[in-house]
Each structure stands twice: as C-alpha cells, then as structure tokens.
Amino acid sequence: MSKLHTDREYENELNDLRSRLAMMAYEVQKMIQYAVLSLQKSDTKLAEEVILKDHEVNRHEVEMDDLCLVILARRQPLGADLRFVTIALKMVTDLERIGDLAVSIANRTLKLQKMPAIQIPGNILEMTHGVELMLQLAIESFLDADAVKAESVLEKDDRIDELYHQLFRTLLKEMARNESLIEPLVHIQSVAKWLERIGDHCTNLAELVVFMVRGENIRHMNHAKT
C-alpha cells in the first residue's frame, strides 16, 4: 500500500477524503469532551458551543457523502480503494451520530440548569474517557490501516457497557431515595445511555476499519448489541 496511484489526482482525492474523515473524527471527539465538561461544570456557553459545532459536523457529513459519490463516479475504485470509499460512506454516518449524541448531552446541560444541582457520577466521567479513547483508537487504526488496533477498540466496549449498567442501578436507587431528583437523574441516565451508544458507534467504526484492512466482515459475529 506504500505505492502511489499512477493518477496523482486520484491519490489526492483519496487523501483528501482520508484527512477530512480524520478531521471530522477530531471534531466529534472534541464535542464529546466539551459536552461532558459542560455538564460537569454546568457551563451553558460550552454546551451551546457544542450545539453550534454540530452544524459543522452535519455539513461535513453531507460534503463527505458527496465526495464519496463523486469518487465512486469518477474513479470506479476497486479493491482496497473501493472498500475505503464505501467504509468512509458508512463511517461518516456513525461520526455524525456521535456528534448528534454529544449535542443531546449538551442539551441536557441546558435542561439541568433549571433543576436541582446534582453531582455527576464518576461512572459518567469514566465512560466519557473510555469512549473518547475508543474514538481516538478507531480513527488512528483507520488512518494507519491497523486492524489490530481496531480490534482493541472492540474489547473496550464491554467495559463501557458494564459501567452503564452499574450506573443505571445506582441511578434507580437514588431516584427512589429522593423523588425531587427524579427528573435530573433521568437526564443523567440518558446521558449515560448516550455515552454507551457512542461506544457502540465506535465499535462500528472499528469493525468497519477491520473490514477495510482485511477485506473480511466481522460485524455481528459475536456482538449482540444493546
């Protein structure tokens, strides 16, 4: 794969697609980070920033879809290039969804503003770090075409699920204990749920990378979702 395409413009187009995906992933990662931070710090401005950022990500998605379509139309890619482009088509969907989920989290920051203040559970923070790392690894594995790294992402998802279920139990107990906190706690539960979803999307990304590199489909092999 170190060889370059004879048609250098094609090479450039593929590189463009690759770096745009990396950029989009980077932005989405920042969105998750800021959304949770805004929640933690009750920082509405940060939350609004995340919400605004989403437009950019959405624009990215549309542009990337177009780019993929144009590459497919103009280059008729085959082999690894074809897998790369179709995978890119699917990855942007996941990335865009992750962005949306970050927006949902940021929205909770705004909603929680008007409610009794509560402590953000440690599990949420751990989950956040977990999914951020997963996203990071997924994108790195994509850029390096490194299937082993991608597979390491898959393992990490189990921990996220575990954290979520722990948290769910805890939250239910707390709700029962203090009914005035039900609404904020339901929101926190939603946030946890979304972080867990982000983990799932990262798993998707990693599976796609494995397919791109190895040409073999490992989706739904041993993972039953949610």
Binding site: K3, L4, H5, P77, L78, G79, L82, R214, G215
Partner: protein
C-alpha cells in the same frame, strides 16, 4: 466441473519465454477472465488453449493442458478437430468479407465440409442475439453490419460449429460502450451453455462479465480467484496495485 486443467504451462516465442509455469483450472459453464498489462501473455495463454499458439513462428510450449482430462498436446490429438470443440472470437470483428451474413454464420461448417442448413444458422444467430436484427437481410454481405453486430456475427459463426468452449481475445476493445454492453449481456446468456474464457484489457469488463478472474503479470499467474473477491479484496499486493491503478 473442471473443463480445462492447465498444468505448468510455459510458452516461448523463439527464445523469449512469455508464459512461465501457469497452472489453473477453467470451470465448466463459467466465465473466466484473464487480465493483466500489455504483453503479459494473456493472448498467448488463450491461444495455447486451442492450439493456435503453435501457428505462430518460432512458437514453442511446455506443460500440459487437459481438456476434460485429456491432454490436448498429446501426439494423437488433431489440432483441427480440437479447434472445433474450442472456438475463438477475436479482437477485431472479422466476418468474411466475401460472404453474406448467412454464409458467414455457416462458414465454419462450409470450411469443414459439414452439412449446413438454415435452422443451424437461425439457431446460432438467435443464440448470439442477432437474429431479430438480421433476419430480413440474411443475404446482405456480413461487412454491411455495424461493428457490434459484426462481432455478434462472429460469435454466431463460432456457435454454429457447436463448440464446448469459447475463447474471446479482447472481443470488445474495438467497440463502443453500447455495442460492448450488448456483447457483455450476450456473454451472460452464453455462460449457461458454454465455458467461456475472455481476455480483456479492461478490469471493469472482467469484473462485469466473469465468475473467475486470473491476473497475469510478466508471464506469471499472480492471482486466480472469484471475480468479486479479486476486485474487492485481492490477496496479492501486485493484484491490489494493478486493480487500484498503482502502476508505479
């Protein structure tokens, strides 16, 4: 079902080796495509399958080609009779210019002095998806047809001698996309009854028409796999480089 079994086939023109130890099976009622860069030995390879290779000057060959388990290079095999079982279609449509459409279709039988009649011609033309277009002008010269029709006429001519295998050497490279699409559609039809081996410059065409694809490079068989596999996830990096357009 294996139709051809090629075993360690090497071929030379004078002292230049142009095929180097090719071994591969060719399955019955399937389309096998041969792709590779110019001069890699694609044409030479299929010409070895009906013993046309030996007609070239200085041509020599080693190894075995088994057609239904019988070595076609065994001394007792008559190449002329073999070629009736293994037909061939060429790059440039070449209907015989001195013959009418009808006579062109029957030319294989005329040439070999076998009985011929209108039914045979009609059935061959139908199989070649040409009957409707020419039935009203069977006695016009074959060269009065368009390029794509001429190529289908050549296919009909080959079908009329009732071969088991049809070899095609870049059958569409002189045709435009419309004529090409028709021939490709025809190949899908023919696959049901014949074993087809097609050499093509265009990977896209190989991808479209074939079940199996062999990638040749410098006289070597680099990869031979299912077409969808070869074009979506080839095993060899040389194949990968070639199909993705990395020619260095």
């Amino acid at each position: 079902m294996i139709k051809f079994e090629v075993k360690k086939l090497s071929a030379w023109y004078r002292d230049i080796k142009v095929l180097d130890g090719i071994s591969m099976p060719i399955l019955e009622q399937q389309v096998t495509a041969i792709i590779g860069p110019s001069g890699c030995g694609k044409s030479t390879f299929i010409r070895c399958l009906n013993r046309m290779h030996e007609l070239s000057e200085g041509a020599r060959l080693e190894g075995h080609v088994l057609l239904e388990s019988q070595n076609i290079y065994a001394p007792k095999v008559d190449p002329v009779l073999l070629r009736r079982r293994v037909g061939m279609v060429f790059q440039k449509p070449n209907p015989f210019p001195h013959l009418s459409i009808l006579d062109n279709v029957l030319s294989g039988l005329r040439l070999t002095r076998r009985p011929k009649n209108l039914e045979i011609a009609e059935s061959a033309l139908r199989k070649a998806a040409l009957w409707e277009e020419v039935k009203d002008r069977l006695h016009k010269p074959g060269v009065s047809l368009s390029g794509g029709q001429q190529q289908r006429l050549c296919i009909a001519r080959t079908l009329a001698v009732d071969p088991e295998v049809i070899l095609m050497d870049e059958p569409c490279s002189a045709l435009d996309p419309i004529a090409t699409a028709r021939i490709e559609d025809l190949i899908h039809e023919l696959r049901k009854n014949y074993t087809i081996v097609i050499v093509t410059h265009s990977m896209q065409q190989a991808a479209r028409v074939s079940n199996k694809t062999a990638f040749f490079l410098g006289g070597l068989l680099v990869e031979f796999s299912d077409t969808s596999q070869l074009f979506t996830s080839p095993k060899d990096t040389r194949t990968e480089d070639y199909i993705t357009g990395k020619f260095g």
